[in-house]
């Protein structure tokens, strides 16, 4: 296990009740600046894993390190170095404008008034959010998702967790967001991105490395080429890879 990894998960398990193992002994490492995709069906445990990584759920056993910080023992420093973006349109104050929402959260990320003003303008420009003074409830789904990304970038956190970000977006908006994630967040800003999705083509287009998740277990992880090699089929499509690893017997 690499100590300098951005995300390090050691023997992580979570059960909500007896005989309901949602996360089953996961070991995983994500390098700094890597775009890592977690693929799985609905109910595989992707969101639970992301919430465990963000310390919004406590594990039953195991340890998680983000940028070297233990997420439970060093919770405050961990929180300063992560950002979470969910595909859920909730999580903002719908009666406030986009800008008011951002200013509110900027304060809680300990940004001064001056810093937050500069940062919010910069992020709105970067993410093409053109009507900052509209109420949040009046934005399109695409803009709401961009605001969600903007919020996660407020404190310039090096590690970003994106949970089914393009869910519910039209194809053009989804593509635009994928380009932004790959080109701007990862290549330009050198962020580590942990992206969960059930869209195989999205994973193929984005990921440096993919992990497949089924019933709380990681069934395989690696680059597309590594996964093809393990299968012994260099011409395997992403669907073939998915079928192979998701249906593989333990």
């Amino acid at each position: 296990m690499n100590n300098s990894a951005a995300i390090r998960i050691i023997n992580l398990s979570k059960e909500f009740s007896r005989r309901n193992m949602v996360i089953d002994n996961i070991n995983l490492s994500v390098e700094r600046g890597e775009l890592f995709c977690l693929v799985g069906t609905n109910g595989a445990g992707k969101t639970t894993l992301l919430k465990l990584l963000c310390n919004l759920i406590l594990p039953t056993s195991g340890e998680i390190f983000i940028n070297g910080y233990n997420v439970i023992k060093d919770s405050e420093r961990t929180r300063s170095s992560i950002g979470l973006v969910t595909g859920d349109e909730r999580s903002f104050y719908w009666r406030l404008t986009g800008k008011q929402n951002m200013k509110f959260f900027a304060t809680f990320y300990n940004l001064s008034s001056y810093e937050s003003r500069i940062k919010i303008d910069e992020l709105f420009k970067l993410l093409h959010i053109e009507e900052p003074d509209k109420r949040f409830q009046e934005y399109s789904s695409g803009i709401k998702q961009r605001l969600s990304i903007a919020r996660a970038l407020l404190n310039d956190s090096p590690v970003l967790f994106l949970d089914e970000l393009t869910k519910g977006l039209d194809p053009a908006s989804a593509k635009e967001l994928r380009i932004f994630i790959k080109e701007t967040l990862v290549k330009e800003k050198k962020k580590t991105v942990f992206f969960s999705t059930h869209n195989l083509h999205e994973a193929e287009e984005l990921a440096d490395r993919i992990a497949f998740m089924r019933k709380g277990k990681i069934t395989a992880d690696g680059t597309i080429d590594e996964l093809r090699k393990t299968m012994g089929r260099q011409d395997a499509s992403i669907e073939d890879i998915y079928d192979y690893f998701m249906n593989k017997k333990d």
């Binding site: 509110f104 959260f105 809680f108």
Partner: protein, 269 residues
Amino acid sequence: MFFRKMLTFIKRDFLIAISYRLTFILNWGGMVTTTLTFYFISKMFGKVMNPYMAKYGTDYFPFAIIGIAFSTYLFTAINSLSNNLRTEQMTGTLEMLLLTPTRVSELIIGMSLWDFVFSSTRVFGYILIGVLFLGLDINNISIIASLVVLVFTIISFSGLGIIAASIIMLFKKGAPFSWFVSTFASLFGGTYFPIEVLPEPLRYISYLLPITYSLRSLRYTILKGYSIGDIKGDLFILIIYSLILVPISILIFKMALRRAKVKGSLAHY
């Protein structure tokens, strides 16, 4: 940064409150009708009630208006944090706030601050309507003593509110606890009538409630101008309640938060 965060909470809630203009206006309208109701009750039954009012040196209307105005703080303390916490759970913003490098205690204080500010304007409104239009006499008021009592009133009541919020965090519904405390406070705390009216055994319940000491000393300091020295007994009890309830309630809240994280139910509602 603490004060900036608190001001940010107040600003957020103010902006949300004024975005619902009708509710905002109706809140004030309700205050006028409540004041008038007790004014006319006092006119009708004033003389009958006067023997009980003797120790406060006043008639029923000033007694009732102080009780109603300041018990607003109790109802705010009991309901504010739990209601706001539930709203944050429902809007999904609670998890986002918990992701920021902000202390739990800052969130607890900040989430209810606007409601206390709004309650203060209501208290001021009640008194103002009484003084300007209904002959309420507060010329004797001891401002410092009243403010000191008020501070410990809010702190001790808040402890109960944090416990109510912990129940919301765990069970998603906290109405029975809030209802129980609010009803007990109204019935036994001396809001609408002096506790001397109650049969003696029931009066022991009154003595267990912080609101009893809070309202009694506020009536003395506002209507009779008593100093801190004159109400030191009641003040001491309020301080004891504050010292016991606040740390215990914060501990209970932290335990509830941890339990919600174990159950994975932070955003459930």
